[in-house]
Amino acid sequence: MKRVYVNEEWCLGCHLCEYNCAFANSGISDMATALKGKPIYPRIHIEENDSVCYAVSCRHCTDPICVKSCIAGAISTKDGVIKIDKTKCVGCFTCVLVCPYGALSPNENGVMQKCELCLQNSCGEPACVTGCPNRAIVYEERGEEE
């Protein structure tokens, strides 16, 4: 399965991926209307310190602890992609408690969200990847066990 990967050495720490992600998932067709002057709730985030920066989003684990831990049965795997049913999530944060990558966070309504690879939104492929100016973020297949 294709996943989003980040080449640390190429990441500029520009945070554009966060904006592209928030825009792609906003359901609004104009970027300025969607983002300008508002707090954004991206599903990818830059982690950085003085010497390193890179983007982090859901790994779509083959043995996902968030799915096993969700107290609302709201997180499931379909064709390898881990998704959240927003109508079932009650915002208990258990997924935040267990994800080893820090890949889940609440949206503006306190409902959990995570990268779903832009497969359901208007972008159709990961917006963080298509918009990365230094091609640090890639969407590719890297060996599956099964």
Binding site: R3, Y54, K68, S69, A72, C92, F93, P100, G102
Partner: protein, 410 residues
């Protein structure tokens, strides 16, 4: 063909079913469900009272789950005996079901102390099941004064669920603080204040001694008038099926990391068990949903002839009240690092060069990174712990470790 029987129909049972079906797509699975509901999210019953879920969405799996998994569910019946010689399970109606392997996933039941005069209380409830919840909902009015005995997770979630729908809520507990099983004094004080700010009243270091209709006489001598009584003192693991046949049982059914009990062919999973807590290196009941699923899944795989171990269980809870979240994990043993801001409190506990546990009140971004350090027993000299004290961040890991975590398929 094998014949699998699962006693119980909660999250551990679902884990067991899915574990079995990972290996064995065909053999018969029978689920014995005492409750007359398809599997639902037990921790969501308080959210039901708050209208944050409903009878449709509270279901843990979709409505075709059992059919898809080729499972037969027997509703409304209780398993009363496991006959290991005949390899069959006896049900309360006298019928019996043959098994080749069985998983006991019977959960726990509310513990109700023998309060004097309890039988004179008309409106009394436990808060463990969907039926408890529906009955409680039916009984409350906007005028109801509610007394909840027990300031643990169940009692307080019930209080939150009822808040705004009743006139008055008082919670009492013998302990000197709220959520005493997961919070230390300071953290409990923050949570208690927050709950009080939302209208919940507390009587701590005090509990009911006796009841006379709608009056509770407290140990302190105080008298509390109430219309609705909720008993949330604690729970006991349902272990009798194993006790009766001489299986090893402590506070829960003793299981190893494959979820085998001491009796051959009998597995157990979920709140009825006692398995290893790696944060203390001892066996204990870890009655939390993630554990129930993972134990169940492990049991299922092994029952079907696979080989799976669940060997990194720790206690972990994420629980919020009126918008303030507490996250806790592991054990609170060893050296404490504390970081406090106006609205947050973080306590990290380290011992023998490892992170053993934490408490976070508010401020829980990427907390799973801390949890993973406990579960993976990561030596802290392999990470930048000074950085981690400030924030849960994978920047604190070595470049090589990060490449492993983020570079491939995990």
């Amino acid at each position: 063909m094998k014949e699998y029987v699962i006693i119980g129909n909660g999250v551990a049972a679902v884990g067991t079913v899915e574990g079995i079906r990972k290996i064995d797509k065909q053999s018969k699975i029978t689920v014995i469900s005492e409750e007359n509901h398809p599997v639902y999210c037990r921790p969501l019953i308080s959210y039901y009272l708050e209208n944050k879920t409903d009878l449709e969405r509270i279901n843990y799996r979709d409505k075709n789950f059992y059919e898809r998994m080729k499972c037969k569910v027997i509703y409304g019946k209780k398993a009363v005996k496991i006959d290991t010689a005949k390899k069959q399970i006896s049900l309360c109606d006298g019928s019996s079901i043959p098994y080749s392997s069985v998983c006991v996933a019977t959960g726990s039941s509310p513990f109700v102390p023998p309060f004097e005069g309890l039988q004179t209380v008309e409106n009394k409830f436990c808060f463990m099941t969907l039926d408890d919840t529906l009955a409680l909902q039916k009984a409350i009015t906007e005028q109801s004064r509610v007394l909840i005995v027990g300031a643990g997770l169940i009692g307080l979630k019930c209080a939150e669920g009822l808040c705004g729908r009743v006139a008055d809520i008082t919670v009492c507990d013998l302990a000197d603080r709220v959520l005493s099983s997961i919070l230390d004094n300071d953290c409990a004080a923050i949570m208690q204040k927050h709950l009080e700010n939302n209208g919940i009243k507390f009587l701590l270091n005090d509990s009911a001694k006796s009841f006379q209709k709608s009056t509770a006489l407290m140990q302190s001598g105080k008298k509390i008038e109430f219309d609705i009584l909720v008993l949330a003192v604690g729970v006991r693991a349902n272990t009798s099926l194993l006790t009766d046949i001489g299986g090893e049982v402590n506070r829960g059914i003793i299981v190893n990391e494959k979820m085998e009990t001491s009796v051959s062919g009998i597995y157990a999973a979920g709140d009825c068990t006692e398995g290893e807590d790696i944060s203390i290196g001892e066996k204990r009941v870890l009655a939390i949903l993630p554990n129930a699923y993972m134990q169940g899944f492990t049991a299922g795989v092994n029952m079907a002839g696979g080989n799976q171990a669940f060997d990194n269980a720790i206690p972990m809870n994420s629980i919020g009240f009126f918008g303030l979240h507490a996250m806790t994990a592991g054990s609170y043993d060893g050296e404490v690092y504390e970081k406090k801001t106006e609205n947050t409190l973080k306590r990290l506990f380290t011992k023998d060069g490892k992170l053993k546990g934490f408490i976070l009140i508010g401020g829980n971004e990427r907390a799973g990174i801390y949890t993973s350090l406990i579960r993976e027993q990561t030596p802290l000299d392999t990470v930048n712990f000074e950085l981690l004290k400030e924030n849960a961040t994978t920047v604190a890991f070595s470049c090589e470790n990060r490449r492993k975590k983020f570079g491939g398929v995990v």
